[in-house]
């Protein structure tokens, strides 16, 4: 998702400037009926909450007293305590499986000294209070949620606790220093006791303390304890609602006929049969992402809308659109790779020609769809001068601003209600807000056609697989010179692939000297290698995007298989070889790898005949994950039997969640290896359309899996993505051990690597 290379001190300012250039800023809040808007929306929780919504508090002037605290630092927008003691924590991220819906409340509840059995969780909105405190924008990505909000949520909890303590001290007329808290109650002298619920209303009226002291980590009771997700019950009974489940009175559903070639426009539309479908309310021609056009069929449910779409007779004008062909594209990438591109790293390449051992390798990685299980959707309700959206989004602020532009509103006139999402993996964070704008265009056209109803746009699975925003296709070419002991003397490397951020709001701080940092992350480091790395970013008519672990989806594979090959060809143990390269400079890499080695039995356990060990280790999003795997070639297919992970993510806030994230990321990494795990194009059209031809891992592909976490008390780092990158190379290294031939493309193709 969003990579970590953004200069965090610069991002908010740049982003603000970029966004200011295209829209008005919310300065005249007086003109905006925010308070009544919130009431109308049924949000705010004033009735039961001790801490009213931040915007409410400001509107009422309750906390206007010269606080220098930013909205992200004030408990009012984050904690509600009901009279019965229930604590509802609002999380400032999209929950789409990664567990922040539980992890962030754990952090806040720790410092609040809440009774965990009474803690609940809910999603925020595009209110500025829910900005990422480091990036200054709404953002779920880059495995940043816990990392960037750890201190924020601790302080929020500590502030709320301090206010509850002050309220109790006032009630009992005692010195606050004589009070302490325990599991949702304030304890006073002489056995006096008050539940948080009894104090909440009084606490609400107090000023928010600016400075609070935080617990010593050794006193943590919740943080670090394996904890069941707060949504586990709802998600095990069909009671969890997602964006797709939003239902308002009179709501209509829209299905869109998207062009077969990216960016194509309509030549002719015959919608007579579509309009005749029972339940179809309107057929609307709408502008789409990237200058394309489409036809929306609006009906009283998905099925009639889909039947209406099937009945459309459309002719497309694809003349102006580049028609990509994967085979031709690969040939073009190969040509490009013959020449050096823009320079990322440099080193002396003179030793290459006379190195005693030489290795030349080409790697090919296809486009990949994110394919989250919940198909993309967005529900829009328009009122005169306001709009409200319900959508599972990783970037509520960008989406709200894009919706405002599409609807001719000011950003503050658009409320984005962040919904639980059924996966995302980066796909719900698009700088053009493609799905959101599409939904707004339909709602606008529907209103113009006389339909004043909330409209839910719903993409089919085919829309999702064919609709773009893929992990870009990449080609890597490496020429490496090394000696008999495996010491690399020179490494000349070229990467060819589309830039993810070029042309987006992120370009100014992601693309430097013509190189998109998301394309090269994970190259070379932490290995001390004399590498020249150059990059080509061809422009191709295929929309591309970050995809869980971004650049490391390909760079980790290239680095970890090539180093393994050097170790193998110089008859060195792949673990010892890596350890020697890490030296004493990379203790977290060493610890993660050593843990995986120790727990897997590597080098000690005798493997069944036909199996081989594979090893890989990679750092991404500031965490290191190492895998030691066992694999075989069975019936001509690579099979992953067992994987042992060693994880260094610093403090594991919820170890159960860390385990789940590493397992899940590994499965997504495994999907990259399986036959059919690729998106290809012919004549400009995507050739896959559903899970029948775009393959993802199933339970039958799942190896035995163990996750081990290196103990640490250092501030937490990312964990949503780092488990992905090293899985495929570890698997490939095991297969190469068996066949004697390296695997250099994903998905794996054993055609030319028959067992020796």
């Amino acid at each position: 998702m969003l990579p970590t290379h953004i200069d965090s001190t610069e991002l908010p300012r740049i982003l603000q400037r970029l966004m200011a250039a295209s829209q008005s800023q919310p300065e005249d809040t007086a003109a905006l009926p925010r308070r009544s808007f919130l009431k109308l929306a049924g949000v705010g929780g004033l009735a039961l909450g001790a801490f009213p919504h931040m915007a409410m508090a400001q509107a009422t002037g309750r906390q206007a007293a010269a606080s220098t605290l930013k909205p992200t630092q004030q408990p009012s927008a984050f904690v509600e305590i009901a009279p019965n003691g229930e604590v509802t924590v609002t999380h400032n991220r999209l929950e789409f499986g990664q567990g922040v819906q539980t992890g962030l409340p754990m952090i806040l509840a720790e410092e609040l000294d809440a009774d965990w059995s009474l803690v609940r969780s809910k999603s925020g909105t595009n209110d500025p209070a829910y900005h990422d405190p480091v990036f200054g924008m709404h953002l779920t990505g880059g495995s940043n949620s816990i990392k960037n909000s750890f201190t924020q949520y601790r302080e929020l909890g500590a502030r709320a606790r301090a206010m509850l303590l002050s309220a109790a001290a006032a009630r009992w007329k005692v010195d606050v220093a004589t009070l302490r808290t325990q599991a949702g109650t304030v304890l006073g002298p002489n056995g006096r006791k008050l539940g948080y619920g009894e104090l909440a209303e009084a606490a609400m009226a107090l000023p928010v303390p600016e400075k609070v002291s935080l617990k010593d980590p050794k006193d943590f009771k919740l943080i670090g304890r394996p904890t069941t997700r707060l949504d586990a019950r709802a998600k095990s009974s069909g009671r969890q609602d997602y964006g797709i489940d939003v239902k308002h009175a009179g709501q209509l559903t829209a299905v869109v006929a998207h062009p077969p070639v990216f960016g194509a426009r309509l030549a002719s539309v015959d919608d007579s049969a579509a309009r005749a479908v029972k339940g179809v309310k309107a057929v609307l021609r709408v502008p789409l992402d990237r200058g394309a056009e489409g036809v929306a069929v609006v009906a009283d449910g998905y099925w009639p809308a889909k039947l209406g779409r099937d009945a459309l007779k459309l002719q497309w004008d694809t003349a102006a659109a580049e028609k990509v062909d994967s085979g031709r594209q690969l040939a073009q990438y190969r040509e490009l790779a013959k020449q050096p591109g823009a320079r990322k790293f440099d080193a002396d390449m003179a030793p290459l020609a006379k190195a005693p051992r030489q290795l030349e390798a080409e790697f090919v990685f296809p486009y990949l769809a994110h394919a989250p299980m919940e198909p993309l959707n967005c529900t829009v309700q328009l009122w005169g001068d306001r709009a409200e959206l319900w959508v599972g989004t990783q970037c509520a602020g960008l989406d709200g601003a894009a919706a405002a532009r599409a609807l001719g509103l000011k950003p503050e006139q658009v409320r984005v209600n962040v919904q639980m999402a059924g996966g995302g993996f980066g796909r719900r964070f698009v700088s053009t807000s493609d799905v959101i704008v599409e939904a707004c265009e339909i709602a606008k056209a529907a209103r113009a056609a006389g339909l004043n109803a909330p409209v839910r746009l719903l993409w089919s699975r085919e829309d999702d697989i064919k609709g773009g925003y893929y992990r870009p296709m990449h080609l890597h070419r490496a020429r490496i010179g090394f000696d008999e002991r495996g010491k690399v003397l020179a490494w000349d490397h070229v990467i060819v692939g589309q830039s993810i951020t070029a042309g987006s709001v992120f370009e100014p701080f992601q693309v430097k000297n013509g190189i998109d940092a998301t394309a090269t992350e994970g190259m070379r480091d932490p290995y001390p290698l004399p590498m020249r790395l150059t990059v080509h970013h061809p422009k191709v008519n295929v929309p591309v995007l970050w995809w869980r672990s971004v650049g490391s989806t390909h760079t980790a594979f290239v680095m970890e298989t090539l180093l393994d090959e050097i170790a193998r060809s110089t008859k060195q143990d792949p673990v010892a070889y890596r350890m020697q390269l890490f030296g004493d400079k990379h203790p977290r890499h060493r610890a993660a790898l050593q843990l995986a080695v120790d727990r897997s039995g590597y080098g000690k356990k005798q493997l069944p005949a036909g199996r081989a060990w594979g090893v890989a280790v990679h750092e991404s999003f500031e965490s290191v994950v190492a895998y030691v795997v066992e694999a075989s070639v069975t019936d001509g297919q690579p099979v992953l039997h067992r994987a042992t992970a060693g994880v260094h993510c610093n403090l594991a806030v919820n170890p159960r969640s860390v385990e789940a994230q590493v397992q899940g990321a590994a499965v997504m990494g495994l999907s990259m290896c399986l036959p059919g795990g690729a998106i290809t194009l012919k004549d400009g059209e995507v050739q896959q359309g559903n899970f029948g031809d775009f393959t993802v891992a199933r339970i039958t592909d799942m190896p035995e899996f163990a996750v081990h976490i290196v103990p640490s008390a250092e501030p937490p780092k990312g964990i949503g993505e780092p488990g992905l990158p090293p899985l495929a190379p570890a698997f490939a290294n095991a297969i190469a051990q068996l066949t004697g031939k390296p695997l250099r493309q994903l998905p794996f193709d054993l055609a030319d690597t028959k067992p020796a």
Binding site: K235, G238, P375, A660, Q663, V667, T700, M702
Partner: protein, 157 residues
Amino acid sequence: MSALNVNGRDHTVDADPGTPILWALRDTLGMTGTKFGCGAALCGACTVHLDGQAIRSCITPISAAEGKKIVTIEAATDGSDPVGAAVHTAWVKHDVAQCGYCQSGQIMSATAFLKLQPKGKQPTAAEIDAAMAGNICRCGTYARIRAAVADAAKTLA
């Protein structure tokens, strides 16, 4: 008009007889626990029971349900059915769900599978995998699904 029996209650649905059960449940009856994932019986997110059999409601028309009984996730996990309850409990205990979107379908597949187990027989790992192979989880919760199904089987034995 089609007559549907869902979770023991009779409903009349005003929809084309070719409408998949999934959309009658979600859009007409407002029962959104059953999920739309692929629309082509490839992912299993829409799994419900039709006369006790796990079926893909996204491709099964309501006309095929006439005179039969549909059971959805809402009823399977409300405590009234011992197998569904055991599966629900195991799912929570093993903290299976991540995004959770596919889990309605996973639970319905697991429940149908365990209902067919002869009393006292523990399913093998391979049998569990085979029973659950039609359900995709893009979050990759498969290790915990395996553990939860085996655990539920144990509690039912």
